[in-house]
């Protein structure tokens, strides 16, 4: 029996191999559903919950949402806060850049009555305040919005340790993924714009799970992130969505339309 490699067979690209391995794992009975040992908070998007492999954001995780400016990271984070609130949680938004608009948060489904807005002086203080909040475990989910701020990695490791112990979830919005030792890392890439008539109402993004400490990474999900129409309108738009682009002229009333990004 020859040990020489069979060079006649074509080499399969790595992503394809990984997908095949995942598929094979599924066929062999590896449970891709929520892991029982790590309870999760919903992301607000069932497709992303499934792609994460844990049924949502794992509790106790420091999750980095990596997206370019305007790429939907804040929208996804606020939607996740709304979903956490819907499950009875209390949430916080740490906003050192003073960029949070309460009206936008409300339209994305966040109940402002139970939202704590923290305005630290700088990124370092934001991380420290997040650690204080995480240590008590009385906040179910918090968003640490460091987008556009100078890199600051000191304290994030300590924050991650505190989160694991308390079970709170921290969603980190930061441009440079290298500086965060996140337990979960999601990358968002815009795939299409969503319009109704001539109005731009959102974007279709592909969310890739780059890292997940508690489940197999590599999952992907396609998310429709609507700018500020709220969860109820979101549902209506979803009902109106068509699989293929639909010309507005041919419809009796404006329908959701997907335009290539």
């Amino acid at each position: 029996m020859s040990l020489q490699a069979d060079v006649s067979r074509p080499v399969r690209p790595l992503p394809e191999l990984l997908a095949a391995l995942r598929d094979r794992g599924l066929r062999q009975g590896v449970d891709p559903g929520p892991m029982p040992l790590r309870p999760a908070l919903p992301t607000g998007h069932p497709a992303l919950d499934a792609a994460l492999g844990t049924g949502g954001w794992p509790r106790g995780a420091l999750a980095l949402i990596d997206a370019p400016a305007g790429g939907g990271a804040t929208t996804l984070a606020l939607g996740s806060l709304a979903a956490a609130q819907a499950a009875g949680g209390v949430v916080a938004y740490l906003d050192p850049a003073r960029s949070l608009d309460p009206a936008t948060a409300a339209r994305l489904g966040v109940d402002l009555t139970w939202l704590l807005v923290v305005r630290p002086a700088d990124a370092a203080e934001a991380v420290e305040m997040a650690a204080w909040l995480a240590r008590d475990g009385r906040i179910d989910a918090l968003v640490l919005d460091l987008a556009g701020l100078p890199p600051h990695s000191r304290g994030l490791d300590r924050l991650a340790g505190l989160l694991v112990r308390s079970g709170s979830l921290a969603l980190l919005l930061a441009g440079d993924p290298a500086r965060a030792g996140a337990d979960v890392r999601i990358t968002l890439r815009r795939r299409a714009w969503l319009t109704v008539g001539s109005d731009l109402v959102g974007q279709r993004v592909e969310a890739s799970v780059e890292r997940n400490r508690w489940a197999l990474a590599g999952g992907r999900a396609e998310l429709d992130l609507f700018f500020a129409e709220g969860r109820r309108v979101d549902a209506q738009l979803r009902a109106a969505a068509q699989p293929e682009p639909v010309a507005v002229e041919r419809a009796e009333r404006p329908m959701l339309r997907v335009v290539g990004a």
Binding site: R107, L115, V118, P120, W132, R138
Partner: protein, 346 residues
Amino acid sequence: MTRLLALVWPDLRAPDADRSAFEPMLDRLDDLSPRVEAVDVGVALVDITGLGALLGEERRVAARAVALTRGVASLTVRCGVGENRWLAALAARLAHHERPDAPAALRVLERGELAALPVDLLPADAATRQRFALFGLTAMGQLAALPRSAVGAQFGPVGERLQDLARGHDPRPLVPRQRPERLGRRIAFDPPLDGVGATALALRRACAELCDRLRTRHLAPGRARLSLYLEDRAPLRVELAFPAPALEPDWIARLLIGRLEAAARNRRMEEEPRVTSIGLAFDRLSDPASRQLPAFEAQAGRWEELRWSLERLSARFGEGRLWRAVHDRPAASLADRRWRLMDIGP
């Protein structure tokens, strides 16, 4: 026969008066009688029935009440004694008119003395007073002597009530206030300690001791008051109202020390003060398990717990850090609401 003592402090009834002394004054009056009513800010009613056997004549009882309240603040006071609240209050008013410049004045008013007093002293509105004048009624005795049916026909129920007062009848009972429960601890230092910070250990020990005593009774304090008695200066006093009843001695002590140091800084003492004793008191005691709101809304309970964390966060990071969104027009539709952020820090 019921005897009531009305005490009126005119200085406390001024619109811009510092009214913080009123509550401690009522606490002192609790030592005189178990039935004390706070009628209004600066007006108290004390049931002194039967105190004559203990303290002597009514003048001495009133003097005792004044002496007790003077221990809190030395304010001008008017006292009136009568057999019901109308007579007692009117007596205090007459005492003010008779001796306007005296630091303390007392008047005892009996029912029979009312007849000679003018009707203007009755709590009537301007229109009723004008009608009294039209009918030639100038003294309370004239109004009291009229048949009740005639007064009712002319002046209605209001007139009948005024006639009752003119005859010296007032059915309104005294409603004694609920005596607030307090728990206190005082620790003296011999020799005195140098500096405010040196008291931290003793303060923590006092907090722990009081919290342990309350825990056994399933109670928690809603407010802490700390007095720091200094060797050669006026005492420093700070107060800390808790966001929710709490039994956390370490944090109570830390927050009190923080406020104390701020108070010392504001006083701008050049040298470290020498502390002779500290006095710690917990009040607003309540059962923390009796809070009902969390039963109706899940987040409410979580937020109550969170408020303590926020208090600590404010103490650590300073003001202007913690905000909460409120909307100006709650009844408006979602699109028309205007949100603004409100500072919820200390």
